[in-house]
Amino acid sequence: MDMSQYLRMFLDESEEYLQTLNQSLLELEHNPSDEQLINNIFRAAHSLKGMAATMGFDRMANLTHEMENVLDRIRAKKMVLTTGIVDILFKCLDRLDKLVKEISHSGAETSEVDDIIELLQNVDSIKDGAASPTVKSTSVEVDLMDTNSDEQSTIISHLKTDYYCYVLDVELVKDCLLKAVRGFMVIKNLKEAGVVVKSIPSLKEIEDEKFDYEFKILYLTKESEKEIESIVTDITDVKGIQIVRITEDNLTGETGPYIENGIQEVAAAVEVASEESEESNAQLTQQDLKITPTVRVDIDKLDSLMNLVAELLINKTRLEEISNRMNVSNELFGDILQQLDRVTMNLQHTVMQVRMVPIERIFNRFPRMVRDLSKELNKKVNLIIDGAETELDRSIIDSLGDPLVHLLRNAIDHGIEDPETRKKAGKSEFAELRLSAAQKGNEILIQVTDDGRGLDAKKITKKALERGVITRDDLTKMSDHEKIMLIFRPGFSTSEVISDISGRGVGLDVVRKTVESLDGHIYIDTELGKGTTFNISLPLTLAITQALLVKVCDETYAIPLSVIEGAEDITAEQVQMVQGQEVFVLRGHLIPLVWSHKLLGLSIPDLNDNTEQLSVVVIGTGKKQVGLIVSELINQQDIVIKSLGEFLIDVPHISGATILGDGEVALILDVRNIA
């Protein structure tokens, strides 16, 4: 059977399940008694096992199977969840992750899993001790109890009318040939004598033969246990049945010693349903929402869709321009143009929406990383994540992972002090590391904040001088903020000891490069002894943006609106010289001026005849403002950003190009690094 078409789906889903596992396990470490979490982990592990087995990846299947066994004992309270076990489970997840990566690269599993399996089995025997190892199947009972509100109310109403509630565990003989048929018959016969609330696997799966040799049924009937047993065991190939009754007592919370943990859960679930049905309904709906069916689309297809929309937009603009130029006053033509405008706008908006994904995608992997790292470095860190639901263009999100990893590592390694130092400084032992995302207008602001020692401008400059990043002359001209920004220079590292976590002197430099390649910028707020915040602001999408069109020496350039703080017309007299730098005063602030033609290396300062009047575009780069003198301001317009291609990727001050209404190309000015 050709599996290749399923492979991609398998990989995607495995990744998701692994992420869920990682997350839930982390939470579980903090709330070891949260049964909901254990159930989540179970479901994910179980699904993963099923998928791996279907695809024929035995190592993955074996590993998840062992993992399930351990989890099962924890769930059945036969084993206490210790940090040691969590660590082993994390190791297991890491190996699974590795296997998934190997499969995605080569289509086969290459890593061995025996070592981890052994670990898992040892955990089993050591911790299990007295408890009898009777539990055969794994996640079954848990899933069985994951009843929805309809099922719960069915149970409650039947229990009130002389029905009994049972959990049936039906086992077929191993060499049974027609499992599906036998399973179907069991259920059919049971249905004749009562109500089958739920089965694990589901009825459909049983009919499709998607089960091993046993399945479980949550059953309501007026018959006795004996009666049920005879109904079921009359069927050929049924090896045996275990029947556990759920009584009124169980339902009110008093659990007999003979009752399995799974049944306690039923009791609990039913109890919750009867007493706080509203709340549990709300909870369940929330869960349902999380698994809304989606279509997986190749990102390349979305890219080409975006390109098509962009092309449409360009042609629309051209059409408008022609209509303006020809002075067409045909009403119909105007109508059509308006319609076209509306449709392209909606289309563009929708395509952009489709490309947006919550930043959760990358945030989710950080709790785990922070946990491991803080353990390794003996620091106590509380990671707080805000705004994980904030949406960003998929292509931006994908390249944002590494920079954020760098910043978080940096914060834990350098920013946050060890617990003793923190105590001495009168801070809580637990450092607070906050990762937040929020939309601000047309931009996304991502912040990494720690309450650590803060950045010391003196230390930074000392280091920068030692490393030859700057000269003493440079230093005298620098503000404190500029000094701190030195840490983004290539070849800079403040750590005394170079660790393998950070401090290779490449991290922050790369962070800045990546952020800027995404058309965003990064700046720092810091206070000595109080902490540091790295702010990254990014455009919502890379493809289409609003820009101001300006003329420089007879050529049209576009400046993204996101960096523009205003436009001013000033007279030549307003230009003053301060320390060899041309400046002008805007609302009480001195703003340095930059001539755009000089910036671009163009020869003629082609100002309008009226040299008295200068058009200045005020650019905001983080905390700094710079006035860019251009020949003329044209207008504001939606532009489609196009890359100049690899061939011209490193041209300074030009970040891309766009096509104007008349079909000509205008270059996009990259003004964040000026001045």
């Binding site: 092309e311 050529e555 290396g601 196009k642 100049l644 011209l648 300074p652 096509i659």
Partner: protein, 159 residues
């Protein structure tokens, strides 16, 4: 006569174009389209031989002035001026040439190793010289012509 038969097929088609009086050829499989001259938007701070960028059906394509690349005087735009777009390592680049003459089959064994200088162009930029009757067609090594400069360019631009 030394053979420069690199490939098994013993003849290839070449697009033959003209710069000054010299005839040059690029393999037809590398070429995408031939365009009439269209307005080129210059790119400030780009390497000197990059004339600028053009828009071809919504794609932004850099245009290299081969004359300037070879250290000749920059081109005068004439009626016959053409831009040949070629595909190099998955991205398109336009070559600005004086004239496009024809498409020719050239036998592999009619291609000779490049002399040290041909048409004022150094040997390393050439992949050979094709002989057809009395004509000599200088075959260009596009990777060399464009790549080499990319490498040095990158080195210079990091700051």
């Amino acid at each position: 006569m030394k053979d420069k038969s690199v490939q098994a097929v013993n003849r290839h088609q070449y697009v033959v174009f003209q710069i000054d009086k010299e005839e040059f050829g690029v393999e037809i499989l590398r070429t995408q389209e031939i365009h009439r001259y269209t307005k080129i938007t210059r790119v400030p701070n780009a390497p000197h031989y990059v004339k600028g960028v053009i828009n071809i059906r919504g794609e932004i394509i850099p245009v290299v002035d081969l004359r300037q690349r070879f250290g000749l005087e920059s081109s005068n735009i004439q009626e016959s001026t053409r831009i040949i777009t070629v595909l190099i390592k998955d991205y398109q680049i336009g070559l600005l040439v004086d004239n496009v003459n024809e498409v020719l089959w050239i036998e592999t064994n009619a291609i000779e190793l490049a002399p040290s200088v041909a048409g004022g162009i150094e040997k390393e930029y050439l992949s050979g010289v094709g002989k057809i009757e009395n004509r000599l067609i200088v075959l260009l090594n596009l990777e060399k012509i464009l790549n080499l400069e990319i490498a040095t360019n990158e080195g210079a631009q990091i700051n």
